[in-house]
């Protein structure tokens, strides 16, 4: 039940952010679905492995792949779909917990949440890098194969 509420909240936050970034119509529906997929993937990996880095990393990879595919179907830049869908992953909660512990003067907690924050941001960056690189490789190879076929036909 708790997970269901979280996924619903992720959907609404994705919709809210696509409104803020001026995204319309069909693309907004895609981002709403994407928000659910992001957090669903995170929850699945997190409950199975109990590892925050892995959960962030895999969820980012999943959503990145989804964005790349949907962008080609909807014929729109990847970044438009990606940003609102990634919003539930952004570690605002841990930023806050780090700050409140800073105020409370609890240095152990500050270190713990600061470390977690860096790890989460790193995992998101890492996920984006992996899928973007893979996508570029695939596109380059596709172009290369096309080129060589053309040459061999001639």
């Amino acid at each position: 039940m708790e997970y269901f509420v979280q996924i619903m909240a992720a959907i609404f936050s994705a919709i809210g952010f696509s409104l803020l970034f001026n995204i319309h119509g069909r693309k907004m529906i895609i981002t709403a679905v994407g928000g659910a997929i992001t957090w669903g993937a995170y929850l699945i990996v997190f409950t199975q492995t109990d590892n925050v880095f892995l959960a962030c990393f895999i969820a980012t990879m999943v959503i990145m792949a989804f964005a790349e595919i949907m962008a080609r179907i909807a014929k729109t830049p990847v970044i438009i779909l990606l940003v609102p869908m990634l919003v539930p992953m952004v570690p605002g909660g841990d930023l806050y917990r780090m700050m409140i512990n800073l105020v409370m003067d609890d240095s152990d907690q500050v270190r713990f949440f600061g470390y977690k924050l860096v790890m989460e941001v790193g995992a998101i960056a890492f996920g984006i890098i992996v899928i973007s690189t893979a996508m570029q490789l695939i596109l380059k190879m596709h172009a290369h194969i096309k080129e060589t076929r053309k040459v061999s036909k001639v």
């Binding site: 936050s13 919709i15 409104l19 001026n22 830049p77 409140i100 105020v103 973007s132």
Partner: protein, 275 residues
């Protein structure tokens, strides 16, 4: 986008005032101004640096430029083209920050696809770029409020807040957006706007939760912080670094980190006051 039309007008007047020889040159400059308008539009609306460079390069080749040398960072575009008749034109454009508007990026992308398939006359290109700049559909201010309320409420629930906290979060986000819109109007630098907004938001939350026992401030502040965090800047910058625009990417990442730091400073200082 008044500055762009100004630039074009100056160039137009120059081409009208001088003889035919300069008219030819002015045509090249007009073309460059058009390209830069499109680039500026995309960069301001939140496109990645790589996308801007790629779009202008493609359009340049579609207009039969022999070489298109473009260098873009987050707030500047420098463009040199060598046309098919071996003439060299250069223009540089300083780009200021503006509101994120991904619909504009999508439309600019669509335009560049069409242009690359069949190039239209320069005047028509210019009209279509102005059309994107001015007539892209917007949600308006009321919708921005609604969007913020929806996001803040959803995030408060997301971080485990109860329904009273969710309601307060929605109400506080109205104040937050008012702060942001007001600082937009005053043309305050974004980083200071974020700092001040975070401060005001935290003060409000602490004031409200002081009187309402059923609500704790944690999830309310988290929900509203999410509205301020520069998620777009971080994502585009990481993509920029991968695609080889290291300088632009690092600038963007640095900017995003500073903004996160500004949020922290704003919230923490408000918390310290009320401690």
């Amino acid at each position: 986008m008044s500055t762009n039309t100004d630039t074009l007008d100056i160039i137009n007047n120059a081409s009208a005032a001088y003889g035919r020889e300069t008219l030819v040159n002015a045509d090249g400059d007009r073309m460059l101004a058009c390209f830069l308008d499109l680039g500026e539009l995309m960069l301001r609306a939140g496109a990645e640096v790589n996308r801007v460079e790629d779009t202008i390069r493609r359009i340049g080749h579609a207009y039969e430029c022999r070489r298109v040398e473009i260098f873009t960072i987050n707030n500047m575009i420098s463009l040199t083209v060598i046309t098919s008749d071996e003439k060299v034109y250069t223009q540089t454009r300083r780009v200021s920050v503006a509101a994120v508007d991904l619909e504009k990026v999508a439309r600019a992308n669509e335009l560049s696809r069409q242009i690359c398939k069949n190039p239209v006359p320069l005047d028509e290109l210019r009209d279509r770029i102005t059309d994107i700049a001015e007539n892209t559909r917007h949600y308006g201010k009321r919708m921005r409020y609604i969007a913020s309320i929806v996001s803040a409420t959803a995030f408060t629930v997301f971080f485990g807040g109860n329904w009273i906290e969710a309601l307060i979060s929605g109400a506080v986000s109205i104040i937050l957006v008012t702060c942001m819109l007001f600082s937009d109007r005053l043309k305050i630098r974004p980083i200071i706007a974020i700092l001040v907004s975070a401060f005001v938001m935290t003060v409000c939350v602490q004031g409200v939760t002081y009187f309402i026992d059923a609500a704790a401030m944690d999830s309310i502040i988290m929900g509203n912080i999410m509205l301020l965090i520069p998620g777009l800047a971080l994502t585009t910058s990481i993509r920029d670094v991968i695609t080889g625009d290291t300088v632009a990417g690092l600038m963007g990442i640095c900017d995003a980190l500073l903004k996160a730091f500004a949020i922290a400073v704003g919230c923490v200082s408000a918390m310290l006051i009320f401690r």
